[in-house]
């Protein structure tokens, strides 16, 4: 870095005394400080929270504002264009006259829940397994590589069909299945990063100090791959939301009439010429969610990099 040779202004004695009394800072407290001052990231956080609140309050909104349930049909009003009268057709109606806006609210529940929970499972399993394998190497790593390669060599579609046959499809099952199947990419990535990091001198220095393996993994290796993990997580959640809609075709996951952003989007493509608004609304929601996740991932990455100063 070009900043490495920058000279540091030595504060006056009074300033120094004040500085010495400050509580010790850490990567996390600094990151939080920087995040709070990063408007774009905070905006993205806000949008995601708004989406989550809208979905969580779907019952409330549909009863009190739209007076419509998500499975209610109105065959006299199919393919309605977006209109304020009645409010239920705010975003139009679909091929059997259901309210698009209400279905979108309920769809958010499934999509956000599946996306976030499954990604959390993916990340937890993937990071834990990948870092451990990369750090331990030897037998542990051989076993890991064997398992992941085997899992990856079975076409996912067959695995999912097997799951669909064994379990009753539903959002919960879907989350578990996606969570337990899609961690391999993340874990391979973490393993590779750990391989490189464990040979770095600061990790050897930690060993010389007498740090235990767990400490080295949590304090030295993890913080150095975390920024990349955030970016991966953002990609992961977006991919899961779309995967969920593909899985509905197989009878695994969300079955009609329960809506999800994914199946709203895939259903609507059939009627694209007659009712383009049915495609646009779930598409925009998925797009905004993924965009916000990228922005947050990016913001977190910057916040966790001590070399980047917060703009004051």
């Amino acid at each position: 870095m070009a900043t490495s040779t920058a000279t540091i202004r030595v504060p006056t004695a009074a300033e120094q005394a004040a500085i010495l009394l400050r509580p010790p800072r850490s990567l996390w407290s600094n990151a939080w400080y920087k995040l709070r001052h990063d408007r774009l990231t905070m905006l993205a956080f806000g949008v995601l929270i708004l989406f989550a609140l809208l979905s969580a309050g779907a019952d409330l909104f549909s009863q009190n504002i739209f007076h419509y349930t998500f499975e209610k049909q109105d065959l006299l009003n199919t393919y309605q264009k977006p209109t304020l009268d009645p409010p239920a057709f705010l975003l139009g109606s679909d091929e059997i006259g259901r309210s698009q806006v209400v279905r979108l609210l309920y769809g958010g529940r499934v999509s956000l829940m599946v996306g976030f929970v499954a990604a959390l499972v993916n990340l937890t399993v993937g990071v834990a397994v990948g870092v451990t394998a990369g750090y331990m190497r030897g037998r542990v790593d051989d076993l890991f590589t064997w398992f992941v390669t085997t899992l990856n060599s079975i076409p996912t579609i067959f695995l999912l069909l097997i799951f669909a046959a064994i379990w009753e499809p539903g959002p919960g099952q879907l989350t578990v299945v996606i969570g337990l199947l899609f961690w391999t990419g993340i874990s391979l990535f973490c393993r590779g990063q750990t391989f490189a990091l464990r040979e770095r001198e600061f990790v050897i220095a930690a060993k010389t100090i007498g740090a235990r393996d767990a400490r080295i993994m949590f304090r030295h290796i993890l913080p150095n791959i975390l920024p990349l993990i955030f970016v991966l997580a953002a990609i992961d959640i977006g991919a899961i939301i779309l995967t969920e809609s593909a899985l509905s075709y197989l009878g695994l996951g969300i079955l009609p009439p329960t809506p999800s952003w994914g199946n709203l989007l895939t259903n609507a493509t059939t009627y694209f010429v007659r009712a383009w608004w049915l495609v646009v609304s779930p598409g925009v929601m998925i797009f905004l969610t993924v965009l916000c996740l990228y922005l947050i991932g990016d913001g977190l990455r910057d916040a966790l990099d001590p070399r980047l100063k917060a703009e004051s």
Partner: protein, 351 residues
């Protein structure tokens, strides 16, 4: 280690035929290294890995370090100096041999005991840019050993960190800063403070000044010397700068291709090197006196350092030695005390 034979090396009045003298324990030794070997296996195959050879980074070395002294370890790049340092601290598991630290055998010490033993032996690294975690504040870096060994917590830890910063000549208000905000010399001081945090007896300084500006090198050297006096430290000082080693060391060991070829008191080694390799190495040091410098005769070695995967037979230096005879390619010379406290591994030592 060496091949036992009946061939008698040239007579010398001081010769003692026992190799173990280089590691004789006079009670003053803090560290004793015997027949230490560190081989890195070269493997082939994906599932069934078979060993096709080994990099013999360190191939049987004997030496001791006395309490409170500085032993300089010099040699070309790739001769196994750093590996020796790391093998002593058990950062690599030595292939064979013994490392005794203050009477405790380290090579067989179980994990948890070794971990606690690390409190007494520390390391200063070559690259101050790579040896500090970029995502930790200086306070956390220096405080970590205190946490690991449960030496101080909370307020006491903060104060101890500030004290350590003062000891190494840094302003204590730097605790909340990150490594990238410092210059190379300052970072190396942070590395020194981290090593000092646990109040060790022994420090392996692995080329601690090689990565620094010449103007900063002297500062760090002076700091290390000052700390040695103040805290009664023992150093294994690894370097390739011969004038620095001459300045800081009490005794010097010269390494070539995984072996120590000569070990002697500093002045003895610099004035009367016995091994041809040491002679060649020392002849390359410039003398800061123009008249003497003009008369300085350099011994230029031909060829390159052979591969440690397949070292030459007999004496490892025979491929580049101007004194080499038939015996040199057949018999590995023993590491013998040719003069009091002056060991060398050569069939034809001396001028």
């Amino acid at each position: 280690m060496s091949v036992t034979t009946n061939i008698t090396p040239p007579k010398d009045e001081f010769i003692q035929r026992t190799r173990s003298t280089a590691t004789a324990d006079s009670g003053k030794n803090l560290l004793t290294v015997q027949a230490l070997k560190m081989h890195f296996p070269l493997t082939q195959g994906i599932i069934f890995q078979r060993q096709v050879g080994a990099v013999r980074a360190v191939d049987g070395i004997d030496f001791y370090v006395e309490r409170g002294e500085t032993l300089g370890l010099v040699g070309e790049s790739g001769c196994g100096k750093s590996t020796t340092g790391r093998a002593i601290l058990q950062l690599y598991k030595p292939t064979s041999g013994s490392v005794k630290f203050d009477g405790t055998e380290l090579t067989t010490l179980p994990g948890e005991k070794m971990r606690r033993m690390r409190r007494r032996m520390q390391m200063i690294f070559q690259d101050p840019y790579a040896s500090l975690n970029p995502r930790m504040t200086v306070g956390n870096i220096i405080g970590e050993p205190l946490e690991v060994h449960n030496l101080a917590k909370g307020r006491a830890k903060t104060e101890r960190v500030q004290e350590l910063l003062k000891i190494v000549g840094l302003n204590p208000y730097f605790t909340n800063r990150y490594p990238h905000e410092f210059s190379g010399g300052q970072r190396q001081r942070i590395g020194v403070a981290r090593a000092l945090a646990v109040e060790p007896d022994f420090i392996v300084a692995d080329e601690p000044i090689s990565a620094l500006d010449v103007s900063i090198q002297a500062q760090v050297i002076n700091l290390l010397e000052e700390l040695q006096d103040r805290f009664k430290l023992t150093y294994l000082f690894i370097a390739h700068d011969l004038s620095v080693v001459r300045h800081i060391s009490d005794r010097v060991a010269v390494m070539y291709l995984g072996k120590i070829v000569e070990l002697a008191d500093r002045i003895d080694l610099y004035e009367h090197p016995l091994h041809p390799y040491s002679q060649a190495l020392l002849s390359a040091v410039p003398i800061p006196d123009p008249q003497v410098e003009q008369k300085r005769k350099r011994i230029i070695l031909t060829g390159d350092v052979p591969s440690p995967v397949n070292p030459p037979s007999g004496c490892r230096f025979h491929t580049r030695c101007w004194k080499a005879q038939a015996i040199c390619s057949e018999v590995d010379p023993e590491f013998i005390e040719h003069a009091p406290r002056h060991w060398a591994a050569c069939h034809f030592p001396g001028a």
